[in-house]
């Protein structure tokens, strides 16, 4: 489904701040894989997301989805295959527009945007059904401006907008990190449910070790621009947070340094 072939990315080339963010990343996701990604500060997790979604283009290597090379395509063209939820709950929705208008824009993912009504009667019905899956009552507030919603509600809407058109790849970039624990738990539950129901191939960055172990069928660990550990489902099931941290220290030679890391 998703394939990264020897992908490398350098920041600020030729300056004193030069920093290699990704080195020779090789990663292959099978259809239906739900992979969690952990790693210390500056490990390259967000860069990995950006290189896949097209916010950045790799300096070397190639990104393929379903056999098509997409490395040279700009972000807005890649969105045909890639759905994404950002860490910042404000980032994934347009605040001055209504809930149904936001969904209408997501509905046209990867399709031409012409002069059809953004919100037709048929589309509104679909949006209402989709919103019901969130269980937040947003289906009764279709005409409310998104800026009036709470951070948790906005993130739930972002998650729905990123996923309901069934993209080939769903990227979740620490999408629960900016929320309080109760709302983070709600979004995590919704994520699990949506990914399962729609059988989405998913890559989720998280700083929550316990979450990384509990969710998904595969776990990868990154450090200094490399993937240092790739744990398959069979081993992941009875992994503990302590073991995971131990593995990290053993392979990387240093402690997991992340000021936001949550152990579980």
């Amino acid at each position: 489904m998703l394939e990264l072939n020897a992908v490398s990315k350098l920041f600020n080339p030729g300056t004193p701040d030069e920093k290699i963010a990704l080195i020779d990343i090789r990663l292959k996701l099978n259809p239906g894989d739900f992979v969690t990604v952990i790693g210390s500060n500056g490990a390259g997790k967000s860069t990995l997301m950006n290189v896949i979604s097209g916010v950045m283009k790799p300096d070397l290597g190639e990104v393929r989805i379903d056999g098509t090379s997409i490395s040279r395509l700009p972000e807005f063209k890649r969105s045909r295959w890639v759905g994404r939820v950002f860490q910042d709950p404000m980032a994934g929705t347009a605040p001055t527009m209504t809930i149904e208008e936001n969904l209408a824009m997501a509905y046209r993912r990867g399709k031409p945007r012409g002069l059809s009504w953004g919100v037709s009667a048929a589309r509104r019905k679909l949006f209402r059904e989709q919103l019901q899956r969130l269980g937040l009552g947003l289906e009764h507030r279709l005409k409310a401006k998104v800026g009036m919603l709470s951070g948790g509600e906005r993130q739930a809407l972002s998650l729905l907008m990123a996923s309901f058109t069934k993209p080939d790849i769903l990227l979740l970039d620490e999408h629960t990190a900016a929320l309080d624990p109760a709302r983070a738990e709600l979004i995590t539950k919704l994520t699990e449910q949506i990914v399962r129901d729609m059988k989405l191939t998913t890559l989720m960055v998280t700083h929550n070790m316990e979450q990384a172990i509990r969710l998904g069928n595969r776990l990868i660990m990154m450090d200094k621009g490399r993937i240092i550990l790739d744990i398959p489902e069979s081993r992941k099931q009875d992994l503990t947070v302590a073991q995971l941290l131990g593995e990290f220290e053993r392979i990387s030679g240093h402690k997991m340094a992340d000021d936001r890391v949550v152990l579980g």
Binding site: R80, F86, M97, G118
Partner: protein, 308 residues
């Protein structure tokens, strides 16, 4: 008195298209487009030259629209593809248009006094004139509202609201910016064409200060009508344009103010400054008193629980 008021309404309606253009760039796209000063005169110049050469007034007005679209598109391309700062793109285009407008006119101004314009047959019937203008402006407003609710229009609005989001959903923000600025300047050029036909002449300097007049209309309208939805926001802009003209007419009638017609731009600038500063001050004090009240409440609640 009455005559100057109906005159103000007429002007307000004609300049409403200018204000709608400024609304599209400043408010929807969040792009400070200064092309407007040039494209307004371009619209007037194109219409005046065509009409004085015997073309039908409606064809002249349509061509003015097309020229405005082109001017705006170039500003948009300078900004998106040429990566030139937004403000500077507009200024560059405005300056370039000054020379182009003189080329179009062939001389600094053209008179249309005896020519057959869109308004020739109704200009003397005040109420009919206002009615026809109002209908035309409302039709254009409705078309614009409709466009802003299509897939393409939603993408345009989101470009001003949250670029990152619409890009991640597959919207091309560069296309939206070019389209929006183009459409805005098309409307501004129609406004210039209408004003030239109403006043009976086109002048290379007729566009000077239009951006501020447009902005004043937008701000006044938003303060009076509000911006609950696209429908109300565009209506607000039209109302703002008319109210602005009425305020000016009243100011000029107040003889004790000793205003000269050349003071127009100073007054406009003052209106915009006041309209921008008052809400900021208001917000500051509201926020401050709210913060004080809520903190006191929360502190009292904490004391009640014995936390202190």
């Amino acid at each position: 008195m009455f005559q100057s008021l109906t005159g103000a309404v007429e002007l307000g309606l004609m300049y409403a298209l200018l204000a709608l253009g400024v609304y599209i760039t400043f408010r929807i796209l969040d792009f400070p487009d200064l092309t407007v000063d040039g494209s307004f005169a371009t619209g007037g110049a194109v219409a005046a030259v065509m009409i004085s050469n015997g073309y039908a007034a409606w064809i002249a007005t349509l061509l003015a629209f097309a020229c405005g679209l082109a001017a705006g598109a170039i500003t948009g391309l300078l900004h998106t593809k040429g990566k030139i700062n937004g403000l500077l793109s507009g200024i560059l285009m405005m300056i370039a248009l000054y020379s182009i407008n003189i080329r179009i006119l062939g001389k600094p101004n053209i008179s249309l006094i005896d020519a057959k314009t869109l308004f020739s047959s109704i200009a003397s019937k005040t109420w009919l004139y206002i009615l026809v203008l109002a209908v035309v402006i409302l039709v254009i407003k409705t078309l614009l509202d409709a466009f802003l609710h299509t897939d393409r229009g939603l993408s345009l609005r989101a470009t001003g609201d949250n670029k990152r989001m619409i890009r991640s959903l597959g919207g091309n923000t560069d296309t939206s910016i070019v389209l929006g600025i183009s459409l805005a300047n098309g409307l501004v050029a129609i406004s210039g064409a209408l004003v030239a036909q109403d006043t009976g002449f086109a002048d290379v300097n007729m566009g000077v200060g239009m951006i501020v007049i447009g902005l004043a209309s937008v701000i006044i309208g938003e303060a009076i009508v509000g911006t609950r939805s696209v429908f109300w926001a565009t209506l607000a802009v039209i109302v703002g344009s008319i109210v602005y003209r009425i305020v000016l007419a009243l100011a000029y009638r107040a003889e004790w103010l000793h205003l000269k017609s050349t003071d127009l731009k100073l007054i406009t600038a003052l209106i915009v400054i006041v309209a921008l500063v008052i809400p900021t001050i208001n917000r500051y004090y509201k926020q401050k008193s709210l913060a004080r009240r809520r903190t006191a409440e929360l502190a009292a609640a904490a004391r009640g629980k014995g936390a202190i």
